[in-house]
């Protein structure tokens, strides 16, 4: 807390942040989200038997499905989170990152890694690791990039005297975890272990990628932006501690819950299930902490756009974790594993939580990066409602579809019945996807218009980061 309240007086924090870099990270992030959505859309069309590019190798829905997930993880989320860290870390520590040149190098190198990944997948070189289909020859390069990220961000954090603010715990741990997770997941099942053991590592990788890379940085950003926007400290420091240390301990232990009922030893599966349920209790404390913070300023949820993005994401987070606590039990797994239930769950997590948070941060920062107030508050509202409602509809639709699929399979009905029974859910999914896509288009238009407004010779009133623009403040 201390760092934050001191901020404006001590240093000119605006000089610490390379706004152009943050903006570029966000633009890259949104570009990859666009590509990813196109990939998802193609796969969705294939599933309802309306693939317009059927039989064209470079438009193979299978390959584009992998581009879809990888572009979300490494293009959209990684760029969005890195950009936000380039904003938050210098302002929290009151120190610049190690090197501005290195920052730009990281930016360019990371885009190269993501593009090479997409290209490699497109030409059939994918690696057989879910969420890590990056071709094997890119893996070392990507790992080197992650090492540079660590080198760039750790110095300002380590130079900060005294105990750290919550956000920096999360960031610091995430930097270490991401590097280790990536190395473990991409190299171990490929070169060192095989079979069931490789499956265990693969499960751990899928899980840690979400839990030890995206989740801690996401929560770190929430602990940073929510108090700033609500202009009050986090409700309970004690609960923050519980949240962080609970996540750090329990989250990495759960990888195997992705492969229940496999030949992986049963006692490990039980362990994964138990720690999953334990982490849901931890999640509950974090949610309570944030809603405790919101208490007394509930109207911000309605009037303050970024706060609305953040807290909607938190509601989804709670839902998805609650869902997880159930679905990870062996009883539920028997039915819902392998079904669209899991796909719905993944969308709810990746877009419904972290996607919403990043877009909330963008909604807050874009006017500051572009030097002008949002072109249209109305478009901001459309962006929010289209994204959140469509996403929620998609998740509900897929989760329900998953229950139907699982039941049909268990009833030993012929396979085709499960396809036919899934069809209405898949059709609805296409339309919810179009809704999410429309939300993005609205966002792009709004950014473009705002950018154009920002190009004009600005009157003195161009917002700086220390004052809240009207969109963000309660109007």
């Amino acid at each position: 807390m201390s760092a934050q309240t001191l901020q404006p007086q001590v240093v000119d924090t605006d000089k610490l942040v390379d706004r152009k870099l943050v903006l570029y990270f966000y633009l890259a992030s949104l570009t990859f989200l666009f590509v990813s959505m196109l990939g998802g859309f193609l796969m969705a069309l294939q599933l309802i038997r309306h693939n317009p590019f059927s039989g064209i190798e470079l438009f193979s829905p299978g390959r584009w499905r992998m581009i879809h997930t990888n572009a979300v993880a490494y293009g959209f989320l990684a760029n969005g989170l890195l950009g936000s860290m380039f904003w938050a870390v210098p302002r929290l520590t009151l120190r610049p990152v190690l090197s501005s040149h290195l920052s730009w190098f990281i930016f360019i190198a990371w885009q190269a890694v993501v593009l090479a990944t997409a290209g490699g997948i497109l030409f059939g070189q994918a690696q057989g690791l879910e969420w890590g289909e990056t071709p094997t020859w890119i893996d070392p390069v990507a790992l080197l990039g992650l090492a540079l990220v660590v080198v760039n961000f750790l110095p300002p954090i380590l130079m900060t005297p005294g105990p750290l603010y919550v956000t920096l715990w999360y960031f610091m741990a995430a930097l270490v975890w991401t590097f280790l997770t990536y190395a473990m997941g991409n190299f171990m099942p490929e070169y060192f272990v095989t079979g069931s053991a490789a499956g265990a590592v693969g499960g751990l990788f899928i899980h840690d990628l979400v839990g030890l890379f995206v989740t801690p940085i996401g929560w770190g950003l929430m602990y940073y932006f929510v108090p700033i926007l609500l202009k009050k400290p986090i409700w309970s420091h004690g609960l923050s501690l519980v949240g962080f240390w609970g996540l750090a301990f329990f989250y990495p232990l759960q990888g195997i819950h992705h492969f229940l009922y496999t030949p992986i030893p049963m006692f490990l599966q039980y362990g994964a299930v138990i720690s999953t349920i334990a982490v849901e209790l931890v999640v509950a404390t974090v949610i309570i902490n944030f809603f405790g913070t919101l208490r007394g300023s509930g109207s911000a949820f309605i009037t303050n756009l970024p706060i609305r993005w953040f807290y909607t994401g938190m509601v989804f987070y709670f839902l998805t974790c609650l869902q997880c606590a159930f679905q990870t039990t062996l009883t539920f797994q028997a039915i819902i594993h392998f079904t669209d239930w899991v796909v719905g769950h993944a969308h709810l997590v990746m877009f419904g939580v972290f996607g919403l948070w990043i877009q909330g941060v963008m909604t807050y920062l874009m006017p500051r990066l572009l030097g002008h107030e949002w072109y249209s508050r109305k478009l901001c509202e459309w962006h929010f409602w289209l994204s959140s409602i469509s996403l929620f509809a998609m998740a509900v639709d897929l989760i329900a579809g998953g229950l139907v699929q699982g039941t049909v399979w268990r009833a030993l009905l012929p396979w085709e019945v499960s396809i036919d029974a899934s069809m209405p859910f898949w059709v609805v999914r296409v339309f919810t996807g179009i809704g999410m896509f429309a939300g993005q288009i609205v966002f792009y238009v709004n950014i473009y218009r705002t950018w154009q407004l920002g190009l004009r010779p600005a009157p003195a009133a161009a917002p700086t980061s220390t004052e809240l623009p009207a969109v963000v403040a309660a109007t």
Partner: protein, 370 residues
Amino acid sequence: MLESKGSVLVIAGLFFFALAFVSNALVPAMMYKDLPEKTAEQLVTANLRYQFEDLARRFPASFEKHMGKPPEDAAAREKWLNEKCAESLRIGRKVYVGEACWHCHSQFVRPVSNESRRWGPVSESWEYQNELQRPVMFGTRRVGPDLSREGGRRSNDWQAAHLFKPTLLSDGSVMPEYPWFFEGAPDKPNLRGLALMTYLQWLGSWLESYPYYEEYTASSLPADAAPSEVAAAGDAPAAGEAAAPANPAEPAADGGAAEPANPDAAADTEKKEASNAQPTDAELEAAKVAIPGTKPAPPPTGDPQPAESQPSPTESKATENTNPPIDPAPESETPQASTPPAAVEGDERPPAPALPEALFRTASLLMQAI
């Protein structure tokens, strides 16, 4: 102390991660270290070799073009075939991964949800201890069925036509088409096509229950093929058969693939299944001579293999017509020598019910489940 840099970095960052790594990754690795990891060469069993040589017989031109010509000498040929088969497995796996087959088809049978009745024995660890499971192809989603016991269930012709255009054989399939595994027609697989089919036929080839057919029967569901149609359809392909035995040395003449349903071959398959799926020595001997470039290839039982006066494979219509009657036996649960594809489809998959009906049925099942 809990907010200090040191504890966050060392305890949370390193120690907790290491703890999870040991318990979730190293423990299973150590538990299986006594199970030897097989190389692709060691995975070549008689079952797989049978299928691999079957590829050579069915697609002689493509096989020779992409795999090369086997040596004349018997011992050398044996070695050559094993090597090519292992190589195909490796390439096939790359294709399987690169095309994301594993994102819609799982490779493990769970002990729950009646899966062992649908697909065969529950998966065990030793099955995955081989180099083709680096990383393991468990999969996390089933849009299509599990494939871990796919080998031998369907003929190579079926696989070829299905990969080329799935709807040729499965009505309403949502699987994408993969024409790039072929040179224009389903009977002309390229290297990727041949390798992928080898890989598919390998899945489950190590099991005693190979090939495994579903236990569930169609009795409770409406059958759509009338017996008279069955008989008619069964006779139809035979009419087109020429008396001359197939000569794989002249593949251009007969196209080589998409053979008509062959009662003898089907009967052979039935026999094969009855004898616990191990091809007899005679069959294997027969299979060995069935390599292109050696001599006219009889099917495993030694019966002359009929060649069909086949229409040009470039005509897609003709392809559609000739493909379904391929070796129907392997896909029916109780292979019947004279069962034509229509009846087979009726056995394995009844007509897809209208959507509302399906929904109603699944809803009622759901209620029961709850």
